[in-house]
Amino acid sequence: MRDVAVVAFAQAPNVRRDSDRNEVEILMPVLHEVREKVGLERDDIDFVVHGSTDFQAGMPFSFVGALDAYGAWPPINESHVEMDGAWALYEAWVKLQTGEIDTALAFAYGKGSPGDLVDVLRLQLDPYLVFPLGIDPIGMAAIQCRAYLEGVGRTEADMASVAVRDRRNGMTNPCAQVTGEFTVEGLLAEPMFVSPLRRHDCPPISDGACAVILAAGDRARDLVEHPAWVVGIDHRIEAPGLGMRDLTVSESTRIAAEKANASGTFDVAELHAPFTHQSLILEDTLGIDAAVTQVNPSGGALAANPFMVAGLTRIGEAAQRVLDGAAGRALAHATSGPCLQQNLVCVLEAREG
């Protein structure tokens, strides 16, 4: 495989309601910032791809507006996935592997604030057999959580400790949304939200955007001192039916990690776990040892979870530690669909593969 690295990452501040700006206005400064970090002009980017969803914007073809945020004149080499931006980055990585291009920009945006995101996400469900049951993604996560707690023997205190960790980590991230010092005892004193989930077990609803620039070989070496080399990347999906998979593990994460060679130890792991118990499932599946690996230094999805963006943000945050020279080996993970249905694993290293 061709040597490809993340060379720049930028993100918008994640907020509950960015009511003064539309998606294009949130994106533009991020897209300028990410290019300015490596001194690339618009025409220096060979390929552009982004992730977003029409149902969040509430209109068909909402992604077309992103062309105006990036600027598409003269016409550009461009694509779009109706997926989290992490999969846009994957498409860019594949394009770099064909040898057709040397640089690529992957970005994502999502405004969760205009609608009722929980209600909107119900529309992801099988419209014939599951949607009519009236369940929503939080209810499904609660089913998974109950199965996990009873099947594996973990506790609500274990879950609360994930929230304590991520919210504390988020205090050092100026773009994080829900941060602060909390205690496990304090959080467990809060009332149930959707049992066994309390509010702190669930992600915030966010407005946000982020962008990553990838470059191949010498182009990456010329642009930055410490490129974050993508030495492994893979993604897998599982069946949608909750009864068709073991909810207490993440089989698709396991396969993706194996294909991405995500074994050994990591300095940093950024996990896209919108719910506290999902962080525990992912840490189990990925074999992360908290004694040697710092998990979610950014605060993760519990500190900010812009839908369609937060997965790409994990790759950007993990890569940033390598770019800064702070980490030699970093793991990034992204998820999509109810109860960790689809997962992507990316291994980033200071040394090329």
Partner: protein, 384 residues
């Protein structure tokens, strides 16, 4: 790096106004199983699935690849979902081909679909307040002024659109999968209702339920199919903004640059001479002369002369839309892939009654949005 890509399996549904007997999983499986049969493969042979469709609002299911994962045999495998407006079927095939070209996977199933009977696509395509002024009724309403601009700019005879509609509609009768199955005369098209002046009812695409699927492989598996493969010789896409003062909506620069790119990859210098047939996204009949110019089959202002002379008919020197094209079937998300599939079917010699004798090089073309997203590929019956 840069492996050859072969099309070894092609499948599509019977397209129709409503496929009420099929669920969405049933619709995509009808196309996918036919592609697998053609490729002489099973679900287990597939490494990855790439699915595409137009706006999710058409069926009211958000990111439907999540619920279609097991219907397409994807659990445990990678699954990607592409959405690039009306060009999406072409873009989806190109993303899938890219996985093979990059050497990431060996055998990729790609599927595109739309089940438009779940909603009303015309009104779904009409942007609502506060996103746009309430002036446009569907794609026809959006494109009609640009068709009129084309006619006036080049002083084009006003019945070229009728002639394209007669040709494409009658080609559709030769294609058992086509939605429209009707023979029409010049007078019938001329006398059909004017919907968005100058676009008449019979000059417009239908709203269809349908799907298309392809199996793409590396060279190592290229002999898998029932027939020799179609080889991909070039792929390109380009995008330009929706509204920009400098752009030409009649002859878009993104389409021209996309065509130049794909021709250069395939070594094509004179498309009319070097390409044997073309399946081009013509949802309203007037787009044939417009795209003949945009794709350099004719000098600017003279595309209509090819149509009028019969050059683009099935027995002409450069047949366009042998399958009946988008005028006969338009499951929007699948329409681009159907164009790409027809090009591959032609060079594999599997197009049946709408086969162009000896077709060796074919163009598949898709466009979307406000004539701003373009996707094209060139396939041949010989290896690059």
């Amino acid at each position: 790096m840069a492996n050859n890509v072969a099309v070894v399996g092609i499948g599509q549904t019977k397209h129709n106004t409503q496929r009420n007997e099929l669920s969405m999983p049933g619709l995509v499986r009808e196309a996918a199983t036919r592609a697998l049969e053609d490729a002489q493969m099973t679900w287990a042979d597939i490494d990855a699935v790439v699915i595409g469709k137009a706006p999710d609002t058409f069926e009211g299911v958000m990111m439907p690849e999540l619920f279609l994962a097991d219907a397409l045999g994807a659990p445990g495998k990678p699954m990607l979902r592409v959405h690039t407006a009306g060009s999406v079927g072409g873009s989806t095939a190109m993303v899938a081909a890219g996985l093979v070209k990059a050497g990431v996977h060996e055998r990729v199933l790609t599927v595109a679909y739309e089940k438009q009977s779940e909603s009303n696509a015309m009104w779904a395509l009409a942007m609502k307040i506060p996103f746009a002024p309430p002036l446009v009724a569907g794609a026809g309403g959006y494109f009609a002024p640009y068709v009129r601009a084309y006619i006036e700019r080049h002083d084009v005879p006003d019945d070229i659109g009728i002639k394209v509609a007669v040709k494409d509609t009658n080609n559709g009768v030769l294609n058992p999968y086509a939605h429209k199955q009707m023979t029409v005369t010049y007078d019938e098209v001329r006398d059909s209702m004017m919907l968005w002046d100058p676009i008449r009812f019979l000059e417009s695409c239908p709203s269809s339920d349908g799907a298309c699927a392809l199996v793409l492989t590396s060279e190592a598996h290229a002999a898998s199919g029932k027939l020799p493969p179609a080889w991909v010789h070039g792929m390109a896409w380009r995008s330009e903004p929706t509204m920009l003062a400098r752009q030409d909506k009649v002859n878009p620069r993104a389409g021209q640059e996309c065509a130049r790119d794909v021709y250069a990859q395939a070594g094509i210098t004179d498309p009319r001479r070097d390409i044997d047939c073309a399946e081009v996204y013509v949802p309203f009949s007037w787009f044939e002369p417009k795209w003949l110019e945009n794709l350099f089959f004719a000098p600017e202002g003279e595309g209509w002369k090819l149509t009028e002379s019969g050059a683009t008919s099935l027995d002409g020197d450069i047949p366009w839309n042998m399958s009946g094209g988008v005028i006969c079937s338009n499951p929007i998300g699948a329409s681009g892939m159907l164009r790409f599939a027809e090009a591959a079917m032609q060079v594999r010699g599997q197009a049946g009654a709408h086969q162009v004798d000896g077709a060796a090089t074919a163009l598949g073309h898709a466009y979307g949005g406000g004539s701003q997203f373009f996707a094209m590929w060139i396939v041949r019956n010989t290896k690059p």
